[in-house]
């Protein structure tokens, strides 16, 4: 198997990443996997531990966000699959890359430090190296969008 893995969160900040992933998939004619990761880290700031209902809701929301991205890909003639995982974003990207033997991983690159992005430039660079080492996939960076 081969493919492209693209982790998304939805929202305007993810648009350039989605576009780039679709372009790479169209050019290489390989399957595209949009990944949505549910991360409940934000709950550490509260006293809540009852997460069942929340995870269900986030799954629903993730499916909605993935279906919008899939529709976008389909409009450009690219077939895309949506994958939802629970856990740490970085670990789940690597995990999926290994599972689908991905050739490429498309990551969003913040245009400036003010951009709301999972990665800073430094973390992105370190993470890119880690992906290439652990999965063999090539990292493609999508330029972030200024807001």
């Amino acid at each position: 198997m081969s493919g492209i893995v693209c982790a998304i969160r939805g929202g305007p900040a993810s648009q350039p990443t989605i576009e780039k992933a679709i372009t790479v998939a169209a050019e290489n004619e390989i399957p595209l996997f949009f990944l949505y990761v549910i991360n409940l880290q934000f709950l550490t700031r509260t006293s809540i531990s009852r997460t069942n209902a929340l995870v269900e809701e986030l799954h629903e929301m993730g499916e909605f966000i993935l279906s919008a991205a899939q529709a976008q890909a389909q409009a450009r003639g690219v077939s895309a699959e949506g994958v939802i995982r629970d856990g740490q974003v970085l670990d789940e990207i690597i995990q999926l890359c290994q599972e689908v033997e991905a050739d490429y991983v498309v990551l969003g690159q913040p245009k400036n430090q003010k951009d709301q992005n999972v990665f800073t430039h430094e973390r992105l660079s370190a993470f890119g190296q880690r992906i290439e080492q652990e999965s063999g996939a090539k990292v493609v960076l999508a330029e972030g969008k200024s807001e």
Binding site: I8, R9, G10, G11, P12, A13, S14, I38, N39, L40, Q41, F42, L43, T44, R45, T46, S47, I48, S49, R50, N52, A53, L54, E56, E57, L58, E60, M61, G62, F64, I65, S67, A68, A71, Q116
Partner: protein, 564 residues
Amino acid sequence: MKATTRRSFILALLVGIGLAFLLPIRRSQAQTSADAPWITGAIFDSQNQPVEGAKISLIEGEQTLAEGLSQADGRYSLPVPNQIPATLTLHIERAHFGGVSIEVPAEEMQNLRIGEAIVIADTILERHISPAFWIATSIFILVLALIATGFLHNTLAALVGVVVLYLVSYLGHPFYKELYIFDFARSLLYIDWNVIFLIMGMMIVIAVVEHSGIFQWLAFFAYRTSGGRMWLLLPILMLITGIASAFLDNVTTMLLMTPITVQIAISTGINPLALLIPEVMASNVIGVSTLVGTPTNILIGSYGDISFNDFLQNLTPGVLMAFVGLVVYCALIYRKDLAVARSASDDLMKKLAERGQITDPENLKKAGWVGAGMLLMFIFGEQIHLLPAVTALIGATALMVWIRPNIEKMIEAVDWTTLVFFISLFIVVGAIQEVGLISIIAGLIGRLVGSSLMLAMLSVTWIGAILSMVIANIPFTAAMLPVVGFLTATVPGAESKALFFCLSVGSAMGGNGSLIGASANMVTAGIAEGAGYPISYTYFLKKGLPALLITVGLANIWLLIRFL
């Protein structure tokens, strides 16, 4: 062991236990008789609050004749020996207070000799600021800081505080007496079990409701009713969220409303924050109107003995005023975001409609009946002194018996982390009460407001609102309750419990002022970020601070009209 040996051993053990119980009684009987005269009195602190747990010793020279402890109302009674000595001295001591010795006056000694009970004039104990005071205060501040910075999970932060308190008391005390804060038994007295059981009962009911799809259905219903007109959708969503928050906790409400709201917003092409921020603010505002609407109200209701009806009657008009102000404010600040809305595509509409389904109508119906019964019990239960915690437990148990869920899953649905957080928090706040910090703060605020109820109401509301922006409102409210209790007892006119309602408004609506002001804000922000729409601290502050001023201001005006 042989049977005869074993029998002898058991007999000896029983005799030993019996003697252990009998000996003190025999000793006591040797000194006093049933009709012995008594010395009674009461102990108060410098703010005229009763002092519980003070040790009173009746002394003749070097010999202690009787000992006792003061009760919750500060009163004590000691039996006097049959042989009345020439002089008697009462020695009163309690941790965190200076000791006092009182010589029984000669004329009272005469009364004792003729077998009459005597009443000692009220004793005032002065607070003693010991190293334990500073340690307990530092631990409280540390817990607040750990929660505010997110360095530790809230529950873990509070637990760390509790453990350090015990370590200091138990390990430090033997070496240096002044390190004693309180012992385990004393610390447990500060836990308000009414609060714990009420929250637990409500959690079980919520666990059934949250899987029914009712919130998703309501949100989609709001969208359909508005016909896609955002100026109408915004207040409907705010109202639905607010009403739900008045009966369920705000966090659960936002946890269930946020994902479906994000989907509606994305479908109509608007920024989800234009709906989410007004929703969470409405949740924080309308939740104030009932006893069970916010954790802070549960704390306030239990401490101040304020019923479900009292909250409804005294707060609902003010909450409605605040809500109207909030709707107007939100419509104004988000008018540009809402103006770009478009009709949802057929595909997205279909997906929304699929999401907006009741998934478990049978259990929802049962939960509805039980919920209605609970509401009636909350409203009318006070006639028979039915505590809200008991109502919540009855409702939760009735619901479980009726729907027969997997009991393990239902017990799992109880958020034990939150309950442990509350228990730990009660102990940490109990420590600063024990060492006198709360008393000092109460005294300062008391001096500031003097005998003016209006000044007291304004102070409690606005101090509550502003501090709830920067520190978690649950620990803040728990710490403020004894302060408000003191002001209620000392400020003329405050016996109407007006100040408790001011605290309710300040601490809950104050949560709108900053992202960390309320757990519901944090949950909303976390889910919104997961959808690619992060809410920064600055963004929330810009939108939330004016909302705080408007809503707290309007609710405060109502409270002043109501109670002055």
